[in-house]
C-alpha cells in the first residue's frame, strides 16, 4: 500500500495538468470575486454574512477543481493506457484505487486552501478599494480555510469515484463542470431549499459561506456524497474489464 501511495504521488508530479488546473482556478476565483465585490451595492456588502456569501465562488472553485483533479487521477490512466501497467503491477485493484483516493484528497486540500486564500486576498483588496470595511473575523477565515479545504478534499474523493464510473476523461470533466455550473447554480437560484443540500451547497455550508445549513450538516452530507461516489467508482474499477 505504501508503494501504491508513493506511485500515485509520483504520478501527480511530472505532468503539467495540475499546474493548468491551478492556473484556471486562480483565474476563475480572481475574476468572480473581483466582479462580485465591485458589482454588489455598498450597503449589501456591509454585513459580514453578505460578504461571506458573495465570496462563495472561492469555495465553489476549490471544490470543483479538486473534483476535476480527482477525476483526472483515474481517467488520465484510462485515456493514456497506463492503467494497464498499473494494474499489472498491482492486480488487486483495491490498493490502487485507495491510493488514488488518498492522494487526491491531499491534492484537494491544496486546491481548497489555495482557492480560499486567493479569495480572501482578492476580496480584501477589492473591499478596501471601494472603501468598505472587511467584516470577516479570524473565525470566519479559519472556517473558510479549514472547511474549504475539507470540502475540496471530499470533492476530490468524489471526483475519483466519478472518474472511475464514467472512465471517459472529457465526459467526466464536463459532467463535473456541468454539475457545478448548471445543476447546482440553477438549483441554488430557483429551488434554494433543495440546492443547499447538493454537494456544492453542502460544501458552501462547511466552508461557512452560507448559514442556510449548519456546517456540521453540510459536512455530513458531503461525506455521504463523497463516500457514495467513491464506493460506486471503487466497485466499478474492481469489477470492470480493462480494454
Amino acid at each position: 500500500m505504501i508503494g501504491q501511495l508513493r506511485s500515485e504521488l509520483l504520478k501527480q508530479r511530472p505532468t503539467e495538468t495540475t499546474l493548468y488546473l491551478f492556473l484556471a482556478m486562480f483565474g476563475l476565483v480572481a475574476l468572480v470575486i473581483t466582479m462580485n465585490v465591485l458589482g454588489v451595492g455598498a450597503d449589501d456588502l456591509a454585513a459580514s454574512a453578505q460578504q461571506l456569501q458573495d465570496f462563495e465562488a472561492g469555495s465553489r472553485a476549490g471544490m470543483l477543481f479538486a473534483g476535476l483533479a480527482g477525476a483526472i487521477a483515474i481517467t488520465a490512466e484510462i485515456r493514456y493506457g497506463t492503467i494497464r501497467p498499473t494494474f499489472l503491477v498491482t492486480p488487486r485493484r483495491g490498493p490502487v484505487i485507495a491510493a488514488k483516493l488518498a492522494i487526491s484528497a491531499l491534492v484537494g486540500i491544496v486546491f481548497g486552501l489555495l482557492a480560499e486564500g486567493l479569495m480572501a486576498a482578492d476580496a480584501s483588496v477589492a473591499l478596501s478599494a471601494r472603501g468598505i470595511d472587511n467584516q470577516l473575523t479570524g473565525g470566519d477565515y479559519l472556517q473558510l480555510l479549514a472547511g474549504g479545504a475539507a470540502a475540496a478534499a471530499l470533492w476530490a474523493v468524489a471526483g475519483v469515484g466519478v472518474g472511475a464510473l464514467v472512465r471517459n476523461q472529457v465526459g467526466a470533466l464536463i459532467g463535473l463542470c456541468a454539475w457545478m455550473f448548471l445543476v447546482e447554480s440553477t438549483s441554488e437560484s430557483f429551488v434554494p431549499d433543495f440546492g443547499r443540500l447538493l454537494p456544492g451547497g453542502a460544501g458552501i455550508a462547511l466552508a461557512g459561506n452560507s448559514d442556510a445549513l449548519p456546517a456540521a450538516v453540510g459536512a455530513l452530507l458531503l461525506i455521504l456524497y463523497a463516500a457514495a461516489a467513491a464506493a460506486a467508482g471503487w466497485r466499478a474499477a474492481l469489477r470492470r474489464d480493462i480494454a
Binding site: 506511485s7 493514456y80 494494474f87 498491482t90 492486480p91 474489464d241 480493462i242
Partner: protein, 303 residues
C-alpha cells in the same frame, strides 16, 4: 533453445547473444528508427561505458517449480453478449518455450492475453499463469512481464518517471529503473517526455517496464506491428536472449514471416477457437510454409 536457434536462421548473423550483444544490436537497429549518425555516435559511447558483467537478472528471480505449466488455459471462454471472443481455448506452455499466438485481427488473441493477465474476467474456464490466476500471484511482476499496447504512456511523463511510478508501486529499488533504462538504451533519453520518443523507443520503454521485476514469463501483444525491419530484428534477438536465459515467451501476432523466425511453437486461433497448436516443424510438414498452414486453417474456419 537449441531448437529455437535452428528455426531462426537470422540468429546466425548475431552470434553474440548476450545482453550486451543485444544492446549493441539494439543500437544498430535504432539508428534507423530514432535518428542518424549523431545518435549512433552517442550510442557507441554508451556501449563503451557499459560493463561486461551486466546481465538481465539483477533481481533474484523467482524459481517456479520445473513441473508447473507457465501458462495454462483450460476451456477458456470469454463472451461479449452473443459473441464468443474466446471459445473453449485450451493450451499450456512449458518453461523456456517461445510461442507464437497467431490469428487474424479480431481472432481473440488480445482477449486471451487480457484474461491471462487478470485485466478481464473469463466467462468460463481458467486462464492461469504459474498455475494461479494472475491476481492471486504475490508480486506478479516477478513472474510475468507484459506489453499489451505499444503506447501505454502518459505523453507528458518522462521515460524514467514512467518506470519509476511502476517500480515504486512494485516496491522495487529505483536502481532497477536505471538498470532497465541502460538495458534498452534509453538512459540518454530518460529525462525526455515520452511524447518525443520514436516508435522504437516506446517499444523499448514498454519492454523495460515489463522486465522491471525480472519476470520468468514475457507476454507481448503484437509487439512489432508497426516497427520497421531493424526494430523487428532487434526485438527478435532480444526475445531469443530472454529465452536462452530460460524464460518463457508468448507473443501474439498476425505477421507470420516475423513470427516464423522467432518462435519454436505456434498456436493458431480464429473466431475465438484454437485451430492448431504444435512445434513449427510439425505443423509445416509436406513442404508447406507456415503461411500455407495458417491461411488454410483460417480460411476453413471463415467459410
Amino acid at each position: 533453445m537449441t531448437q529455437l536457434v535452428e528455426t531462426a536462421p537470422l540468429a546466425a548473423s548475431c552470434p553474440v547473444v548476450t545482453p550486451t550483444g543485444v544492446v549493441e544490436l539494439l543500437l544498430a537497429a535504432d539508428a534507423g528508427v530514432a535518428g542518424g549518425g549523431h545518435d549512433r555516435l552517442m550510442q557507441s559511447e554508451a556501449i563503451s561505458q557499459r560493463t561486461a558483467d551486466q546481465t538481465l537478472s539483477v533481481v533474484p528471480p523467482v524459481a517456479p517449480r520445473l513441473s508447473e505449466a507457465v501458462v495454462s488455459c483450460r476451456a477458456l471462454t470469454k463472451r461479449y453478449g452473443d459473441l464468443a471472443a474466446v471459445n473453449e481455448v485450451t493450451f499450456s506452455l512449458e518453461r523456456g518455450t517461445v510461442t507464437g499466438y497467431l490469428g487474424p485481427n479480431g481472432a481473440g488473441k488480445t482477449t486471451t492475453l487480457r484474461l491471462l493477465l487478470g485485466l478481464a474476467e473469463p466467462t468460463a474456464g481458467d486462464a492461469l499463469v504459474f498455475e494461479r490466476r494472475y491476481g492471486e500471484l504475490e508480486q506478479p511482476f516477478h513472474y510475468v512481464g507484459a506489453v499489451l499496447e505499444s503506447n501505454d504512456f502518459h505523453p507528458a511523463r518522462s521515460g524514467r518517471d514512467h518506470l519509476r511510478m511502476l517500480a515504486v508501486a512494485a516496491g522495487l529499488p529505483l536502481s532497477r529503473v536505471e538498470e532497465m533504462l541502460e538495458l534498452v538504451d534509453l538512459r540518454d533519453a530518460a529525462k525526455r517526455r515520452v511524447r518525443a520518443y520514436s516508435l522504437g523507443m516506446r517499444q523499448r520503454l514498454g519492454l523495460a517496464a515489463a522486465l522491471l521485476g525480472d519476470p520468468q514469463l514475457l507476454i507481448l501483444d503484437e509487439p512489432a506491428n508497426e516497427a520497421d525491419p531493424s526494430g523487428v530484428r532487434w526485438l527478435r534477438t532480444f526475445l531469443q536472449t530472454l529465452a536462452a536465459e530460460g524464460r518463457t515467451v508468448l507473443i501474439s501476432s498476425h505477421r507470420l514471416a516475423q513470427v516464423a523466425q522467432t518462435v519454436d511453437q505456434v498456436l493458431i486461433i480464429d473466431h475465438g477457437r484454437l485451430l492448431a497448436r504444435g512445434p513449427l516443424d510439425e505443423l509445416t510438414t509436406n513442404g508447406q510454409s507456415l503461411e500455407d498452414v495458417y491461411l488454410e486453417l483460417t480460411a476453413g474456419e471463415a467459410s
